[in-house]
């Protein structure tokens, strides 16, 4: 089954995403901030990384940039899940190397479908 890393500083949102995905059989690793997420990425490979944008220590954007540039994990799927949904923000995320973007508030069903598409593809 696909392995997913979820980085989100809001505990309740982590629970929401976790419950949504685990029920569908995904294997989830959790990180509570950007720095922790990056450390997990140093040690593991994931099929998909879901990152919040605004997080302590390292932002989601910085994690994407460092993963793409320093870890040489060019093919790893990376999704940003953020309340920042302005066009400029999306462009910055795309430039940094994020593959997908989903804005908050989000539909768990829609998240599942999107992940299904990403991983199925």
């Amino acid at each position: 089954m696909a392995r997913i890393l979820l980085a989100e500083d809001e505990e309740i949102l982590r629970m929401l995403v976790l419950d949504t995905l685990e029920d569908e059989g995904y294997e989830i690793d959790e990180a509570t901030d950007g720095q922790e997420a990056y450390e997990r990425l140093l040690m593991n490979d994931y099929d998909l990384v879901i990152l919040d944008y605004m997080m302590p220590r390292m932002t989601g954007l910085e994690v994407v940039e460092k993963t793409r540039n320093d870890l040489n994990k060019k093919n790893m799927k990376m999704m940003i899940l953020s309340a920042k949904n302005q066009q400029a923000d999306r462009e910055r995320m795309k430039e940094a190397g994020a593959d997908y973007f989903m804005s908050k508030p989000f539909s768990p069903q829609q998240l599942l479908e999107t992940i299904g598409e990403i991983l199925g593809a």
């Binding site: 309740i12 932002t59 920042k84 069903q109």
Partner: protein
Amino acid sequence: MFDSRGYFAFGTDTFLENIEKKELQINKDLTTFNKVYRSDEDKALSSEIQEFTNRYFNESLPSAIQYKREGQLEELVEMSQSGGTQRVNDVLQSLNSFESDVQEEINFIYEEKDEKTSTSQWIYFSFLTFMVLVFIVLIRLMMKQFGGPLKEIANVSTQITNGLFVTDVPHTQRLDEIGLLSQAFEKMIRSTQDNEQELIAQNEELAAQQDELNEQQEKLREALSTTEQNEKMLLRMNSFIHSISNTLDKDQLLKSIISNMVEITYSSKGLIWLIDGNQTASVGLSETEQIQFKQHFPDSGMFEKLKESSLSHQVMRDTSTSERGYVEQKYKSGDLYIPIFSGKREIMAVLVVTRIGSTYSCDEVTEYQGLARQVALSLEKIMLYEDSEKQRVTMKNVMNSIHEGIQLIDNKGNIISANQKFCEFMSCNLPDQLTNMRYEEWTRRLEGRVQEARELLAFIQGAVHEKNDVGISHVFELDGEVKRVIQIYSESLIQNDTKLGTVIVYRDITKEHEVDQMKSEFVTTVSHELRTPLSSVLGFTELMLTRELKPERQKKYLTTIHQEAFRLTSLINDFLDVQKMESGSQEFDKKYHSILPIIQDVIDVQKVNSDKHVFVMDIQTEKLSVFGDRDKLSQVFMNLISNAIKYSPEGGKVLVRLYHTNKHLIINIKDEGLGIPQSAIGDLFTKFYRVDNSDRRKIGGTGLGLAIVKEIVKVHGGQISVESTLGQGSIFTVKFPVIEDVYVNASITMDKGQKADIIIIEDDRHLAGLITEELIERGFQIAQYNKGEEALIMIEKLKPEAIILDILLEGEMDGWQVIQTLKANENTKDIPIFISTALDEKQRGLNLGAAGYLIKPYQPSQLTSSILQVLLNKEKNGHILVPEEK
């Protein structure tokens, strides 16, 4: 001889030197004698002396000297005795004999000469006498021949001189010189007489001409006098104009006018009164006299007369005692009143001059009226100047009071003028320092303080050369102690189709810029803060709707949804609070509360959310009362204590300490958390301000909490401040005005036997009954009215301790009018009024002076409690009785 004998006797060489000199002298004398001798005897004597001399000096004397030198005195004596001395004596005798002969001959010659001289004198005297006699005879002959005719001619001359007409001149017939002289004299007389006739005629003509000339001269003199007078007048006028035109100070001008006028008009004293401003200046007048003039002259008939006639007017009068000085008798003086009219023919000043001892002539008055026109011109000029100066100062003040920097530049870009604000932008002290500053200089100064100067200079160039489009503006950042954001725009200054220059306006939009930035950040923050709980709410509800969930999970999800919904509500309430505070519509239900249970409740709630923190209360005072809105006070401490928890994520002690000073009840909330950077402390209570606005901020929040706290504290007459050390924690300090502890609760005990009357003005009889019942139960005496008019009469009589007032009443008056009437009455203004109404206009009621405001429906016990609190508080001030509790 004596020298030779001296030598022989004493042997001194000096004698030898004398002998040599005498030898030379003897030889010289002999030579002279040889030239003059005349007889043979003289010749023989000369030869004898010559021979003796030769022998004596060449033979005898050298031998004798030789003997002396060799000491052969015997030979020397022998030589003397052998005839040497005798020979000398012989020669001397011959010489003496010769001298006697010569002397005799001289005497004979003198006698002969005296005889001849006597004879010559006698001959000379006789000749002289003869010559005198001859001369006298000749004179007499001359007088007879020439003197008589000449005298006759002289007589004729005298006659002519005396003006007599002479026809004949004597001796013209003579052929000698006298005849010629007479003929010439006669011709001269004829010619002179002819000339005289002619001269007389000419003289007469000249006299006539002279008369004419005299007449002309008289006329010219008169004309000259007039011209001189005119010239003097012009000089005076010129001097006057010159002397009064050199000042722009009104006081100085008035002094100058009056002192010059007094001098020019030869007056003793004078005064000028400027109607606009009731200002005077004088010469020779006391302060009292000036005041007297200012007080009485405007109402005098003279003033009206001057205004109507537009002419000067003279008053002739006897001199006063003081004006006469030491002179005893009275004499006349003139007071000349000269009106000064403006160009619009309005009287603007009056000039009065006084001539003691004489009066002013009509010509003088006319002349002085002419001067008055010059005075008017000067006064108008200075008034114009003052107006213009006033306008200039006003304009300058207006320019300087404007918050925008304003700069007027000419068509080359050089500064014409600038205001204070622009001066501040340019870091100068006074705007005048910028006047006339060249374009290159001021743009260089500006350029040094602007980051993107090229764009700014391009804009200014566009303004100078009128290339900027209408409405175009440019924004730049100005470096300095505080960075400023300036918006600049320009307008051309055009007069009569000619561009005079350009006005450039610099608007400090730093605050707006900051607010814009803050708003932008706020939108981002709000978006984030709202989206996060919304994600949970929407997400979990979707899961519950789309999935079959176990009851435990359902409960867990519902609890989460509830919490997140609560979080959303708090956020929305914060926004609403801010909005209400800004619009001034926030309502506060103030009562006396003990602050302690309020804080304790907050801590109890917060404890649930945090297991890392230890809460400690340190109560050092008993004065714990605060007059305020319980919910809002709770909000203050909820916010501060939740912040203390949020910003100490690692846990630690949260200390709440209460103590008091003379004026304040002070509450400290201290944490051991992250602390606040010093740079952020100044902005901490600003709306939407967050210490960390970055994307990786650790702690959420809208940046509204502390702004709301500050506003609530302020409304309660308090203050809030913060101290913090980064990494060690923060202390928030709230101060409220200290209040003696009047807090009462339902179990308060009242003194027995005390009565208090309460009047209820209420048209809802059911409610009135309920309230009455409740109050009677608490021991009050009640009177009830349903019309304001009736109640007012009874209030005056009964003087109740409190009034309960409805707003909508039966009768003409409503509750607002009743409260206004009561508060306006000195006897009733201190009675506490509790408004009991369905209308939500609490602030209006409190503004009118209500002690309490209850919105229906409410529990009657709530009203009683309010009344008791107020009455007890009043009692603290020594006024009121509290009813007995039953």
